[in-house]
């Protein structure tokens, strides 16, 4: 009888049909909370953190990754390599770092140059991952070209994508808008900062990224 217990059965199904190891990229535009989420995942499952966070855009300018992070949910689990990628944008203006964030001209130009290199690195990583945790800011308009481009790219490659609707601790957040904007993908409302709804995120990650899929080669 024990074999039919819910946890046991899902573990057996996962063993037969599922993946055991997946390389997951955390993607999104700058300042949506990618590194905060990466830190949350690592703190919860390894006790470590990925990197520093800042309110100034493009804080993460080199991809960072942590190997062999085992995320568990009952009897199911998935071993993941987590890649925290620099924010993707279509423009980088050093003057914004000076005028909005008070950086010196030299600091701003250095940050802008590193940010452009970071975007290129993020795009290169798309060739080498098994799935994407796409982080969106649930207080912002979801139809940005970066979001649409990343999603279209992943769909063309047949890579699984899970949307983390972040910052739901903020008063003006609207995860429902994200859900209705991208109904073809699972959307999990979370607060990477407070940890709200992390359990749902982890169980959805195991379920969604644990499936075996055929990659489209381009």
């Amino acid at each position: 009888m024990g074999i039919f217990r819910k946890g046991r059965l899902s573990a057996i199904i996962q063993k037969i049909f599922g993946k055991k190891h997946a390389k997951i990229g955390i993607y999104g535009p700058p300042n949506v909370g990618k590194t905060t989420l990466a830190n949350r995942i690592l703190r919860d499952w390894t006790g470590d953190i990925m990197g520093s966070v800042s309110e100034i855009p493009h804080e993460t300018r080199r991809a960072k990754w942590k190997k062999d992070v085992r995320v568990e949910n009952g009897a199911s689990s998935l071993m993941m390599d987590i890649v925290d990628t620099p924010g993707i944008s279509t423009k980088v203006d050093f003057k914004e770092f000076m005028n909005t964030w008070g950086l010196t001209k030299e600091e701003a130009k250095k940050r802008a140059k590193e940010a452009t290199e970071g975007v290129i690195e993020s795009i290169k990583w798309l060739e080498d991952i098994d799935g994407v945790l796409l982080v969106m800011d649930s207080t912002q308009d979801p139809f940005t070209q970066v979001n649409v481009t990343i999603l279209g790219n992943l769909e063309a490659r047949n890579l699984p994508v899970l949307i983390a609707a972040n910052k739901i601790d903020m008063e003006d957040s609207s995860p429902a808008t994200l859900k209705s904007a991208f109904p073809q993908h699972p959307v999990v409302p979370i607060s990477a900062l407070t940890g709200y709804n992390s359990d749902t995120l982890y169980s959805t990650m195991i379920k969604h990224f644990g499936k075996k899929r055929k990659k489209k080669w381009r």
Partner: protein, 125 residues
């Protein structure tokens, strides 16, 4: 009559022109025009893979004092019907607006409308 510095040039690019180019040629064409301060309206936009390549190319082309990147806005792809799929029709990109980021700014976008504004004073060279 001399051309003013603040003149803004819009180029409407036909589907035929875009379809006649390889992906690499499309990117070269777009980058060249946009770096010259032109706003392009592509009757048929780029595929998601081409859009990603355009972002990558743009980052390589950024010159901090003269070219800060692009503003690109388009609608999602047209999904073919069951019958069209049977005859081998793939998803097709729809109209897309691309311009220099110091000149073109997106205000609002939803499934039915893309609203942009032109930042004056940085027109076509």
């Amino acid at each position: 009559m001399t051309k003013k510095d603040s003149d803004i040039a819009f180029n409407l690019i036909s589907r035929q022109k875009i379809n006649g180019l390889t992906s690499e040629e499309k990117l070269n064409f777009i980058i060249k025009e946009v770096k010259n301060g032109k706003i392009l309206v592509l009757e048929q936009g780029l595929t998601p893979i081409e859009q990603t390549s355009l972002i990558e190319r743009t980052m390589k082309e950024i010159e901090q004092d003269t070219f800060i990147g692009v503003e690109m806005e388009g609608y999602g792809e047209d999904t073919p019907t069951f019958l069209q799929k049977l005859f081998g029709m793939a998803k097709r990109p729809r109209m897309t607006l691309i311009g220099p980021a110091n000149l073109l700014k997106m205000i609002k976008k939803d499934n039915d409308m893309i609203q942009t504004k032109i930042i004056s004073g940085s027109g076509a060279k």
